[in-house]
Amino acid sequence: MTAPAFQTAADKAIPQIPAALALGLRLAPSLPAEHLLTHLARRILAKHSGLLSRLGPYRHCRFALSASDVPLSFCLDLSQNPLAITVHASPPEADARITGKLAALIGLVHGVWDGDALFFSRDLTVEGDTSAALALRNAIDDAELDLGAEVAALTGPLAGPTARLISLAETLTGVPFTRSGAVR
């Protein structure tokens, strides 16, 4: 009798952002996107105060998150108070830069994939201050965030339909936009 094999991380391959969606993201006006992302990040930080304390000496760093399959880069600037997020066509100056598919970056937040495993397999690359990148990864992993739920909550009375829309996007693209999508 052959025993069933252990589950592996490869059970969940990292999806590529569909070309049409990538194009849409690239063409989206950056100013409203930056405003929305900054508002979202400030709201998350207010709800998860442990994030900053876990970042410790790296709480004032600039982090660049580059989505290689869009391609777009986001700069999470904690040196500003309150923090700001900016969107860039090419990677901005930062203390640490993490690059990977957009789904990998979002999946890390939602606990779908292990950061070290993605790094070993070279699905993620880290440049700059490795310590700062590690601190950010660990702080976000501990916070158990749900980006989809946070975005839906931003829309107030439209939270229900927005959540359903996000769920549909998750099904169509395979990108884990929510924590529940992470365990689907």
């Binding site: 252990f6 592996t8 397999s121 690359t125 992993d141 158990e144």
Partner: protein, 326 residues
């Protein structure tokens, strides 16, 4: 059933381990007192107390690793860690330093003491010394012993043994290795960090990924090959005309297929390495190993295959457990 001792670098990982079926979870404080003192990791006093309450509510135990070596004049940091672990309700403390073990035995006699792998206790004489002198209840064995040697040790001691079965593999004499200190000035023994991330950089050079530690290139990975973490012991070096891993290949430990043999050898607890890994990793590995120890308990075959994608170098070894060079 053999006890599954699982890692937690954050409160979220602790809850993930408990929910995935860990019998025990080991963790440490966010300071120099534990051997995984990485940025963004570990527990405050309040987080430890909450984590212990969560674990207890689900029938799991929490072990607190205070397993670095106190520096002269700064013993108070380590003494407070032991006192605070007891106050938070820890099931046991995992200690390495002889003086700290003596302190814990004298000042906290009701707090169960485990001997850390960092103490490198690898023979019956030294294990019996710790047991008889300091009433140590369990010894975490170094990853340098074969299954036969573990069985032989267990026949001559009266304390529980715990062995590593999955995760990062350190083949050096743990607690004695100075390779990290040599190149960075910081070590797992004194600072809780081997090859600290603050000294690690990656650079694309000649279409290869150069992994550097303290400014020295330790490894170059060609495109499409797994990326290494630059520890000196797993570095790739030129020696004469040959290029290769002088000390150790960058492979992780996977002893899942040896669980029946380890059980027969008298091992009490199985330890999973990885306090620096994510809650996704912890949940996945713990779930699989819980299924394995349950299968073993019920006389079913232990599930084969592995969690290769999760391992360093994306390859695994049974390490010294199967060693054939003696």
């Amino acid at each position: 059933m053999m006890e599954l001792v699982c890692p937690a670098g954050t409160p979220a990982s602790l809850r993930a381990a408990v929910d995935a079926g860990a019998h025990s979870i080991y963790c440490g404080f966010a300071d120099d007192t534990n051997a995984r003192n990485f940025p963004g990791l570990n527990f405050s006093r309040e987080e430890l107390a909450s984590g212990i309450a969560y674990a207890k509510s689900k029938g799991a135990k929490v072990l607190v690793a205070i397993n670095t070596f106190p520096t002269a004049g700064n013993e108070d940091l380590w003494h407070r860690a032991v006192a605070d672990a007891e106050k938070a309700g820890a099931h046991a403390v995992i200690l390495a330093d002889l003086g700290l073990i003596a302190h814990a035995a004298e000042r906290h006699p009701g707090l169960r003491r485990h001997l850390s792998v960092q103490a490198a206790a690898a023979n019956p004489d030294i294990i019996n010394f710790y047991a008889e002198t300091f009433d140590v209840k369990r010894v975490v064995l170094p990853r340098v012993l074969s299954v036969q040697e573990i069985a032989a040790i267990n026949r001559e001691i009266d304390v529980e043994t715990e062995v590593f079965v999955f995760g990062g593999l350190c083949v050096m004499a743990e607690g004695r290795c100075s390779l990290s200190s040599f190149i960075t000035g910081r070590s797992p023994n004194m600072n809780g960090v081997c090859s600290p991330a603050s000294h690690v950089t990656y650079a694309e050079e000649d279409q290869e990924l150069a992994a550097k530690l303290g400014g020295y290139t330790i490894h170059r990975a060609a495109k499409g090959t797994p990326a290494p973490y630059p520890t000196l012991c797993k570095g790739c070096f030129k020696v004469g005309s040959r290029t290769g891993y002088v000390f150790e290949d960058p492979a992780s430990l996977d002893a899942s297929e040896l669980l029946p043999a380890l059980s027969t050898a008298g091992v009490t607890a199985l330890k999973i390495e990885g306090r620096q890994r994510s809650r996704a990793y912890v949940a996945q590995v713990v779930r699989n190993f819980r299924a394995a120890v349950e299968a073993l308990e019920q006389g079913r075959p232990v599930p084969a295959g592995m969690l290769a994608q999760l391992t360093e170098g994306q390859s695994a070894t049974a390490g010294a457990y199967n060693k054939i060079w003696r």
